[in-house]
């Protein structure tokens, strides 16, 4: 059987760190031998296109492309906008992070973790923007990086699926890809 690689294209370093931290459980859940994050924010579109073409020509390799919702009115609008500028992307492989990666970081905390970190519990993080995230950060974390690292220590995938719809969609997509692969 071919070595299975999943390339997860993400915007920047916060997103890359998130995927890297979750790569082991994601490998197990989604059935891959290797998870490779790729930060595209500073890469020319031509390079990203080259990466996607490479993945398509590579045995056992697949990709998902994650992008923040930002100021788009809805997920479909964001996907359309993205495909207008990057027509080489397969719409079914685009994951829109709602609203931004910070929401996924917070989504993985259960009540005990919220209490331990001194953060007001969030049952739904679909509205947690960068600004809200920065506001949630307790003062004892001087650096944003310290805070994100601490959030990752407490992160639980099952909890995150309940707290953020786009993260649940992301995980569902990985499960779907596994089912497609394993169905004769």
């Amino acid at each position: 059987m071919a070595y299975r690689r999943l390339f997860i294209l993400v915007e920047g370093s916060d997103d890359e760190r998130f995927v890297f931290a979750l790569s082991e459980p994601l490998k197990a859940i989604a059935g891959y031998d290797h998870i490779q994050p790729y930060a595209y924010a500073n890469a020319p579109t031509k390079k990203v296109e080259g990466l996607i073409r490479s993945i398509r020509n590579m045995e056992g390799a697949e990709y998902v492309y994650c992008t923040d919702l930002n100021d788009s009115p809805c997920i479909q609008a964001k996907k359309r906008k993205l495909q207008d500028s990057k027509g080489f992307l397969d719409a079914s492989r685009i994951i829109v992070v709602v609203p931004e990666i910070e929401a996924w970081y917070v989504a993985g905390l259960n009540d005990q973790a919220f209490q331990a970190l001194g953060i007001r519990p969030q049952n739904c993080t679909d509205d947690v923007t960068k600004e809200v995230f920065n506001h949630l950060k307790p003062r004892r974390f001087r650096l944003r990086l310290d805070f994100t690292q601490e959030l990752l220590k407490h992160f639980q995938i099952r909890t995150a699926r309940q707290h953020n719809r786009s993260f649940d969609y992301f995980m569902g997509k990985l499960e779907q890809l596994r089912t497609q692969r394993e169905t004769p």
Partner: protein, 150 residues
């Protein structure tokens, strides 16, 4: 590589050490001691001596790109390849420019495994890397994005 330098010499210094001196176009009437030169000039001069004037079968260079302008790196690598005709040259680097100009066939990638041991691999043997390169991804991009190790 060092267009302003007319001559290089050495003079005896404290204990058994030797101090490098150079004569520049801008100061033709005096020899400048190494401590007055830029680090890049000193490193490049040392590199030229090591590559062309040192009688050794093996030369090991640690991150020779330090203090060197990126535009000069391609020429520096060309010099190394020329000198490598009759000697083995090993270079360690973290520079995408050096990786790019060295070329896939010259690369050995050293990574740490989960137990902390160093693994040495030859990226040229990986079919996946050939696919990346065929699709207009450069060696430097692959190195920066940590794709040489996949």
């Amino acid at each position: 590589m060092l267009p302003f330098i007319r001559a290089v010499d050495t003079e005896k210094f404290a204990e058994n050490s030797v101090l490098m001196t150079v004569q520049e176009d801008f100061f033709a009437d005096r020899m400048l001691r190494a401590h007055l030169l830029s680090d890049g000039t000193v490193c490049m001069t040392a590199l030229i001596v090591a590559l062309y004037f040192q009688e050794a079968d093996v030369i090991i260079l640690e991150e020779p790109e330090r203090c060197v302008h990126p535009q000069l790196i391609s020429r520096m690598i060309a010099m190394m390849k020329e000198a490598a005709q009759d000697k083995q040259i090993l270079v360690t680097t973290h520079s995408p420019e050096v990786v790019k100009h060295a070329g896939l066939e010259s690369l050995l990638l050293i990574t740490r495994d989960e137990a902390g041991f160093s693994n040495v691999s030859r990226p040229a043997e990986k079919e996946e890397l050939r696919i990346f390169l065929e699709n207009e991804m450069g060696l430097d991009d692959l190195f920066v994005q940590n794709l040489l190790a996949i």
